[in-house]
């Protein structure tokens, strides 16, 4: 029998908008999030954190705390594995400081007690003696001569000689000769930009319940984007075998990349082992800000040359990213995404990964890309303005398309940037009149998307319904889209598929829900598992009919003879095959395991109208339109939700969100009062346009959509605000004091 490899039309379930299967649980409070787990005899863990940005830990005195009522265990770095190297060492050092506290909020010691109040009181009784060391939190200052060294020898071989030891990785890519290109330009603009660190801002703080017994076996229940990663990292940090731990992912109240990292689970395990009781740790919001992943702050220089007709002749970018007290700032993504939307003969991009006394950066939705777009698209905007060119036409003229060479090397496959720009140009928003005080900005954005290790299992129930087990935590409605793809392939109703996020003992390794990979990779695996299931169903029908397996086809949920020559049999529905499966060969289970590598990249174009109050510098985003290539929208409502979510987070990043450090190196705004994410009334209704240019690497053409949506907003909003204010803004966030200062500076000439 034959199966269509790819399907781009004639869908019955894909492309519809059914209710999400987890919806009722979430609106009724039945859904169980990280902090909802309990176990008999459970203790509560609290982590004591450094109040200093950089300090040697001289002595930890826990004697008074340990004597307090209800206290069962105290752990320090001495209670974790030794001899770790590479990223495992970095994670351990971050999860529990060794000799030195490297940032305000760095974990130093943890305690477990019978109640969270007892644990908090005991934590206050722990005395840590510090020798405060000089600190640095700014990316440019951290690279400058004389800056305090965060850790000697942290740099890898990519770093050229002569740079400060805080520069730990270096990236260089591009092609052509930029100097020749700049010489061909009619106008060259070079400008510098800065962005502050922002937090993913998920509403659910990190939470876990962990148990590790003296027999060396353990379990973890936690909110995470990737429980196989939690299993692997925790096993390494505790020095036990991976399979000794079983990890179950809870419902997740947002992640946006920030829950790809491991923070509290190894600490809860270590406390549990010592106390021989289950231990629960729930972070406070303040801890989330101080000790979990914000994104990098940046300092960037971009230079672009353009001819009078809008042709870009050369482009160069230097991107310096501060990633906290550990290597890993995603500067290579910043560099590679910067000029990806454009077909350039001459392009050069350089990235620096810089350490400072801040928390270890974690992935945040298209890590590194939004900042690049802010710098590059601001300069393109300035060039268009000075040359009197239309902003979309100019981008179309230079747009990357199938067959052109990407700024970072490869030749593009089928991509949808031109389609996005054309859709934006045709959208009524682009030509709608503006009121006085308003400005319009546009920007393109790019994200790679990702495949990754994936395993899926599909078990048939005796009534013909289907239990689908996937290993990627549902962070954006993926249980619905998986059920849709399974239903589509099997020819059964959406409601007949139940999707479960399986634990680590149930499936093979699944990479984290990151890189916008879930609908692509778990979706592909679901489709392939369904095809595997169908093969097995057809085999049962063939046996029943006494014909060749190859002579059976699967149509609308039934096995049918492939043609007149195959024989004359009534269609055999899935429910009937399922009912007799115990007698006809046993349970029917389809599965698929692979590392799919055809994740199609995604481009977007955003249009923003902003209004600036020139007397106060206050900004309102009054209209917003997202145009993005989804390849194929499986559940259009959730695709639109991703588009709107990326825009909303981008508005916060552009206008008000920032990590504010005092001269003492302490975080000044570790709470949602002074770390200002947008509230509902700050946002206009965000309009969306789904462009569908099928990805050749997915059976239905799916491209990941979760991350590209946050790539254009910083730039589009900066261009809109700059147009409205009449002055170019070079630094994010564009908070009212910053806008007012720019206006005053301009007025002063």
């Amino acid at each position: 029998m034959a199966f269509d490899e790819t399907k781009t039309e004639g869908f019955k379930v894909v492309g519809t908008r059914p209710n999400r299967p987890d919806g009722i649980d979430k609106v009724t409070g039945r859904a169980r999030f990280g902090a909802d787990a309990t176990a008999p005899g459970m203790l509560h863990g609290v982590i004591v954190r450094s109040p200093h940005a950089h300090a040697r830990i001289l002595k930890i005195d826990t004697s008074e705390a340990e004597a307090m009522k209800g206290v069962h265990a105290v752990v320090t770095r001495a209670d974790f594995a030794t001899g770790l190297t590479g990223e495992n060492w970095n994670i351990l050092e971050n999860v529990m400081a060794g000799e030195t506290a490297l940032y305000d909020g760095h974990a130093v010691v943890a305690i477990a007690a019978t109640s969270s109040l007892a644990a908090r009181d005991a934590a206050k009784a722990i005395v840590v003696d510090y020798e405060v060391l000089p600190h640095v939190t700014d990316v440019d200052k951290a690279m400058a001569e004389g800056a305090p060294v965060i850790r000697e020898g942290a740099a890898d071989k990519s770093v050229p000689a002569g740079l400060h030891p805080n520069v730990v990785r270096y990236h260089e890519s591009g092609h052509g000769d930029v100097e020749t290109g700049f010489a061909e330009a009619d106008l060259v603009i070079e400008d510098s930009f800065r962005t502050e660190a922002t937090h993913q801002g998920y509403i659910e703080p990190h939470a876990c319940l962990a148990q590790l017994g003296n027999d060396g076996r353990g379990e973890i229940w936690c909110c995470t984007q990737g429980h196989w990663n939690v299993q692997k990292v925790c096993a390494a940090l505790l020095g036990i075998e991976t399979s000794k731990l079983r990890v179950t992912a809870s419902e997740i109240g947002g992640g946006f990349g920030g829950k790809t990292a491991v923070f509290i689970e190894p600490v809860a395990l270590a406390l549990s082992l010592k106390a021989n009781r289950p231990v629960k740790i729930v972070m406070t919001r303040s801890e989330c800000f101080r000790a979990t992943g914000p994104t990098s702050s940046t300092s960037m220089d971009v230079k672009i040359g353009m001819k009078k007709d809008g042709t870009i002749t050369a482009a160069k970018g230097v991107f310096r990213l501060q990633g906290g007290a550990f290597p890993g700032a995603p500067m290579e993504f910043t560099a590679m995404c910067a000029f990806a939307p454009y077909n350039l003969a001459n392009v050069s991009q350089i990235g620096f990964d810089v350490m400072s006394n801040r928390p270890k950066q974690a992935a945040y939705r298209a890590p590194g890309s939004p900042m690049a777009a802010f710098a590059v698209e601001s300069v393109i905007d300035e060039l268009c303005e000075q040359l009197g060119l239309d902003r979309i036409e100019t981008r179309l003229k230079n747009a990357s398309k199938e067959g052109t060479k990407a700024s970072f090397g490869p030749t593009w496959d089928r991509i949808g940037l031109v389609e996005c720009l054309e859709a934006a140009k045709a959208h009524p928003h682009y030509t709608a009149p503006l009121k006085p005080g308003q400005g319009r900005g546009i920007s393109c954005g790019f994200w790679f998307n990702h495949g990754g290790e994936t395993a899926v299992q599909m078990a048939l129930s005796e009534d013909g319904t289907v239990q689908l087990s996937v290993g990627t935590p549902d962070i954006g409605g993926s249980r619905a889209s998986m059920a849709q793809m399974a239903a589509e392939e099997l020819g059964i109703p959406y409601e007949n598929v139940r999707t479960t996020i399986a634990d680590t003992a149930t499936l093979g390794y699944n990479e984290i829900s990151h890189g916008s990979r879930v609908t692509y990779a778990s979706g592909l695996a679901t489709i392939e598992a369904a095809r595997d299931t169908i093969r097995k169903l057809c085999k049962r029908a063939a046996a029943k009919w006494g014909i060749d397996e190859e002579a059976v086809s699967w149509v609308d949920g039934c096995a049918v003879p492939s043609g007149p020559n195959a024989g004359d049999f009534d269609p055999l529905p899935i429910a009937r095959i399922a009912k007799s499966m115990g007698r006809t060969g046993g349970p029917i289970v389809g599965h698929y395991e692979a590392t799919p590598e055809g994740a199609g990249v995604s481009f977007a174009t955003h249009i923003v109208d902003a209004e600036v109050d020139p007397e106060t510098g206050s900004t309102r985003v009054v209209r917003y339109t997202v145009v993005q290539d989804a390849g194929k929208a499986i559940h259009p409502t959730y695709v639109e939700g991703q588009y709107q979510g990326g825009a909303a987070q981008g508005i916060g990043w552009a206008l008000n969100e920032e990590y504010i450090y005092g001269a003492d190196g302490r975080l000044q705004n570790a709470g949602f009062l002074d770390y200002r994410i947008p509230v509902a009334s700050d946002l206009p209704m965000i309009d969306t346009v789904i462009v569908e240019v099928p990805n050749p690497g997915h059976p239905y053409g799916v491209r990941g959509v979760g991350e590209t949506s946050i790539c254009p907003p910083l730039a589009a909003i900066a261009n809109a605000v700059s147009a409205a204010a009449g002055v170019r803004l070079h630094e994010l966030p564009m908070s009212p004091p910053r806008i007012l200062a720019a206006l005053e500076k301009q007025a002063a000439g």
Partner: protein
């Protein structure tokens, strides 16, 4: 921690007067409970005044003045149409605080006694000429709201003293008030600058005015030079410019995570002008 629910203010005062640790009165709790949970304050005695008769009442008195009980919430004030007609600036200042949920708990008296220089309702009460009734170990007294805050987190209330009600004077004919604040977002935020203006008109001419600024000094300010700039004028451009200058001159702000000295000073002048226009229109009968 000991939690008390006294049935009258004399008992509430006596508990506080006799306590030797950290004492907090609990009305809406939108400051106290947040501070408690974030380890900023751990009271030894928490005295809940919500069980005392009359604390939830908004009472219009015969002379046109108003008595607002110490546990009256922002939501209850916003739903009182007559109060909104008399003192729209005080009501809108209270209404700006927090979310819908916070509005169901937060109180004028609590906003004042928390001692924050950025409290939204305090400039509005000062501009309105409000007073508070206080019961303490030495009996009762009435204090001008302007005299209550003495510094960030500090008030002029003595040990054992508790605010029983906020008193707003009679509005009278031709009066209007308004409060504006600057926040970076649209709601759920703390004032970077706040400004309240209350004035009385005779025809087009302003005959009386009070101007108060918040979040630009250690306490909310009553700015007499700003009032002088308005009195006698018909709110012409010259008067507005003089008002803005007087407001700016009164500012003694700090640079912090919420705003710079330069920004706060400039915006104080902008808000003073805008609030004065609204108060002037309201005094002229605009809704």
């Amino acid at each position: 921690m000991r939690y008390h629910t006294p049935e009258n203010f004399e008992d509430a005062s006596a508990i506080a007067a006799g306590a030797d640790g950290v004492t907090r009165f609990l009305a809406g709790g939108t400051d106290v409970l947040v501070q408690l949970r974030s380890d900023m304050v751990t009271p030894d005695d928490l005295i809940d005044i919500k069980h005392i008769a009359g604390v939830h009442d908004i009472t219009p008195l015969r002379d046109g003045s108003w008595r607002i009980g110490a546990a009256v919430t922002g939501a209850e004030m916003s739903e009182n149409a007559l109060l909104g007609q008399a003192w729209p600036g005080v009501v809108e200042a209270m209404d700006l605080i927090g979310s819908t949920q916070v509005q169901g708990r937060a109180t004028l008296a609590g906003n004042l006694c928390n001692g924050s220089p950025a409290a939204d309702s305090v400039p509005a009460m000062i501009a309105a000429g409000a007073t508070v009734s206080v019961i303490g170990p030495d009996g009762s007294r009435e204090i001008a709201v302007a005299d209550v805050p003495t510094g960030p987190g500090k008030t002029a209330l003595k040990k054992g003293e508790v605010v029983t009600a906020v008193n707003l004077p009679p509005r009278g004919h031709g009066g209007g008030d308004a409060y504006l604040r600057f926040i970076p977002r649209t709601e759920m935020d703390i004032a970077v600058v706040g400004c309240a203006v209350s004035l009385t008109r005779d025809g087009d001419t302003i005959t009386a005015a009070r101007v108060s600024l918040g979040a630009v000094a250690p306490t909310a300010l009553l700015v007499e030079d700003a009032a002088k700039a308005l009195i006698g004028s018909a709110l012409d451009d010259a008067a507005l410019e003089a008002l803005a200058k007087a407001a700016e001159a009164a500012c003694k702000p700090i640079d912090d995570k919420r705003g710079t000295i330069r920004f706060r000073t400039h915006v104080a002048g902008v808000l003073a002008k805008r609030a004065a226009r609204i108060a002037y229109d309201r005094a002229g009968g605009a809704k």
